[in-house]
């Protein structure tokens, strides 16, 4: 593998990381803590929305983020032919 391809692979990885970590931050620290009061004015069933993000929603999204990352990276490993086996 050439150093250039290596660098490309790593850059693509960092791009995924940045996007996913922004989502990670927004749903927990953003919606769950900093913006919780304005969001609580909206209701999701019996849940105030900010409260829902803090105690339910952020957790579901965390799970999704990890699987999305794993799938993206598997594809990337394949593209760059750096996977195992």
């Amino acid at each position: 593998m050439t150093p250039d391809k290596r660098a490309d692979y790593w850059r693509a990885n960092l791009r995924y990381l940045t996007v996913l970590l922004i989502v990670w931050f927004v749903v927990s620290y953003g919606f769950g803590i900093l913006l919780v009061e304005p969001l609580n004015a909206i209701h999701l069933g019996g849940y105030p929305l900010g409260f829902w993000f803090a105690q339910q929603g952020s957790i579901y999204i965390f799970v999704a983020l990890i699987f999305i990352y794993a799938a993206l990276m598997n594809r990337l490993d394949h593209q760059f032919d750096v996977g195992e086996e």
Binding site: M1, R6, Y9, W10, N13, L17, L20, L21, W24, S28, Y29, G32, I33, L34, V36, E37, N40, L44, G45, G46, Y47, P48, F51, W52, A54, Q55, Q56, S58, I59, Y60, F62, V63, L65, I66, F67, Y69, A70, M73, N74, D77, V82, G83, E84
Partner: protein, 634 residues
């Protein structure tokens, strides 16, 4: 023997027999099996074991109680203890798996080409893990005291004995399989009562939906009803009550998240899967299994709170018959009174229980009684009572003839265990919850003890001080250090620095401030050198420890907190941040110091930079051991 006792002994006995059976059946024969289960565990199985390892007494026993009394503020635990898995899966797990070593200090020692870095990492790891085990001991003490009907202290001694037998036998291979069984026990134990209670209160069997559903008795939404019940009694509104301040909640959550990603007993888990891609998925599976409990916990907390309030405040606030008569208190109330974790004091001598927010009057009275018994500080205590009485007399509660909150002790940690009893669920459910609490505490204690013992035997002895040690002696040293850790944690567990969840949060802060930053920099910053890493770890953990010890006592010993009041550093003096949340500040210090020192010193040698390049690419990941001894695949 009562029916409940028969159920408790049978279910707890049966589950223990299963765990010990598995531990013996899969006993570790080699160091590779002892530390990383030979590196051959399927990602889903590994995820389940990680979940059990992870969800400790703090998650199972303590967290819902913290949420019950902290309301929205309890969210820091929910987000903090799950969001860390995102960091772990994205920033650490695949690379550490690629690196392929036994322990976290081993990675740090190799990446930073210095035994010094490895030794500092071991010390940080031991500090964090021992603090964590103290939190487990607190939980085990609560569970055993209730289960055996003994005092909290005796509960701890019994727990220490069982943890010792069990962790020492197994090693990682045994622990991994046992933990899968423990996950099954604990998740059923947690969700079954939650389903019953949700069905009772909202008619919806799924607690996650029930919490957002309609309260059967009042027709209001459950959360609105709860807000109303607690505010009527002077408590803060459930759905908006913050923990400290918004800033404190922010750093608290951050501290738990990066602590999660820095805790060695969790990271080790990702060395036990066969491939790098498995490490990525394994973190996801772990979080799925964790999320089942973590999304149920807020429902358990809210519903337990509502049931507790409704049990005591049986009618309208202010009417004489609105409060439960003490002599008619339910059986669970009496049972928890024997543990000392629930206490009643009839301040107004009316034979009824008033449980409300009294602005600290009841507490001031308790302190006065205590001061009188010790014959010290009586005058200050009397002044405090007088002040609280004046404030209280202006409230509506004084007009009802109430003279202070009479539930003088309601320990947070009893809520989950007492929950099914409060809700009047069948005895087998109550027994199952006790078994689940013990499973959670034991599985985590075992995982932590393993991390401690591998740090001492593998990193310190084999790695640095006695490279010639035989495999047999290394295992022996590992087991001996486990015993030492159990004794220390048990001793400190007798005088815990807080509730199980709070103590555990401090452990996370220590891991967050020391381990996580250097691991992350080791992978993402090629330029980071040993000077930077060592200085960073020392700075991070020192800042955190100083703040924690200042609040909780030096080495958590009571009476040594706030030794120098003349410095004006009182409770939460740093921007109102609580010591449990301070790990995030420590981590920031770690990053800053590491970056600065590294920039001022020589870059790491060529081969280390190649090593970092290599860690970033999955291809060529060998087994976590290099040599499989007696490998068995799951």
């Amino acid at each position: 023997m009562t029916e409940l006792e028969i159920w408790s002994y049978s279910i707890v006995g049966l589950t223990f027999a299963i765990y010990i059976g598995i531990a013996i059946w899969s006993r570790a024969a080699s160091t590779s099996e002892f530390y990383v289960a030979g590196g051959g565990v399927h990602p889903v199985a590994n995820g389940m074991a990680t979940a059990a390892d992870w969800m400790s007494a703090a998650s199972f026993i303590s967290m819902a109680g913290m949420i019950a009394f902290g309301g929205y503020g309890g969210s820091v635990f929910l987000m903090g203890w799950t969001g860390g898995y995102v960091l772990l899966a994205l920033l650490l797990a695949p690379y550490l798996r690629k690196f392929g070593k036994f322990t976290v200090p081993e990675f740090i020692g190799d990446r930073y080409y210095a035994n010094g870095a490895r030794v500092v990492a071991v010390i940080c790891l031991i500090l964090a893990s021992v603090t964590y085990v103290i939190g487990q001991m607190t939980g085990i003490g609560v569970a055993f005291s209730r289960f055996l009907g003994v005092s909290y202290e005796i509960g701890i001694f019994v727990g220490m004995g069982i943890v010792a037998i069990y962790a020492i036998l197994g090693g990682m291979k045994g622990i991994t399989y046992t933990q899968i069984a423990q996950y099954v026990v604990l998740i059923f134990a947690y969700t079954i009562p939650a389903i019953f209670i949700s069905l009772n209160l909202t008619g919806n069997p799924i607690p996650q939906l029930g919490l957002g559903g309609t309260h059967v008795g009042s027709g209001m939404s459950l959360l609105d009803r709860l807000d109303q019940v607690v505010t009527d009694l002077g408590f803060k509104q459930y759905t908006t009550q913050v923990m400290g301040s918004t800033l404190n909640m922010f750093v608290y959550t951050l501290s738990l998240m990066i602590g999660t990603a820095g805790l060695p007993h969790v990271i080790i888990r990702f060395f036990t899967v066969p491939r790098v891609r498995d490490a990525r998925y394994s973190a996801g599976w772990a979080l799925v299994f964790i999320a089942i409990l973590y999304t149920t916990a807020p429902a358990v907390g809210a519903m337990a709170r509502l049931n507790l309030m409704d049990t005591i405040q049986i009618g309208p606030v202010g009417e004489e018959t609105g409060n439960l008569v003490y002599d008619e208190r339910p059986d669970w109330f009496k049972r928890w009174e024997t543990t000392g974790l629930l206490k009643f004091q009839d301040w107004n001598q009316d034979g009824r229980i008033q449980y409300y927010s009294d602005g600290g009057l009841g507490e001031a009275r308790m302190k006065l009684a205590d001061a009188k018994a010790k014959n010290a500080g009586v005058e200050t205590a009397e002044q405090a009572v007088a002040k609280a009485e004046t404030a209280h007399s202006a409230t509506k509660f004084a007009k009802f003839g109430w003279q202070g909150n009479e539930m003088v002790t309601v320990n947070n940690d009893i809520m989950v265990l007492a929950n099914p009893e409060i809700a009047g669920l069948p005895n087998w459910v109550i027994a199952l919850v006790v078994a689940g609490g013990l499973a959670a505490a034991l599985s985590t204690a075992a995982g932590l003890l393993l991390a401690i013992s591998s740090a001492i035997s593998h990193d310190l002895l084999k790695g640095v001080f006695m490279p010639q040690i035989t495999e047999k002696n290394e295992l022996l040293a590992g087991r001996l250090s486990m015993i030492g850790a159990i004794l220390l944690a048990g001793y400190l567990g007798l005088n815990p620095p807080g509730f199980a969840a709070g103590t555990v949060a401090i452990a996370f802060g220590l891991a967050a401030s020391s381990i996580f930053p250097v691991l992350m920099l080791g992978i993402f910053a090629k330029r980071m050198n040993k000077q930077g890493a060592i200085a960073g770890m020392i700075a991070g953990i020192t800042v955190t420890l100083l703040y924690v010890f200042q609040h909780k006592g030096i080495l958590f010993i009571k009476g040594t907190e706030f030794l120098m009041p003349e410095l004006g550093m009182g409770t939460n003096w740093f921007f109102g941040i609580t010591p449990e949340a301070f790990g995030a500040v420590g981590a920031l210090a770690n990053f800053l110091v590491a970056g600065l020192v590294s920039a001022l010193t020589a870059p790491p040698p060529e081969h280390i930079q190649h090593l970092v390049e290599d860690v970033r690419i999955p291809r060529g990941a060998g087994a976590a051991v290099g040599h499989y001894i007696g490998l068995s695949r799951a």
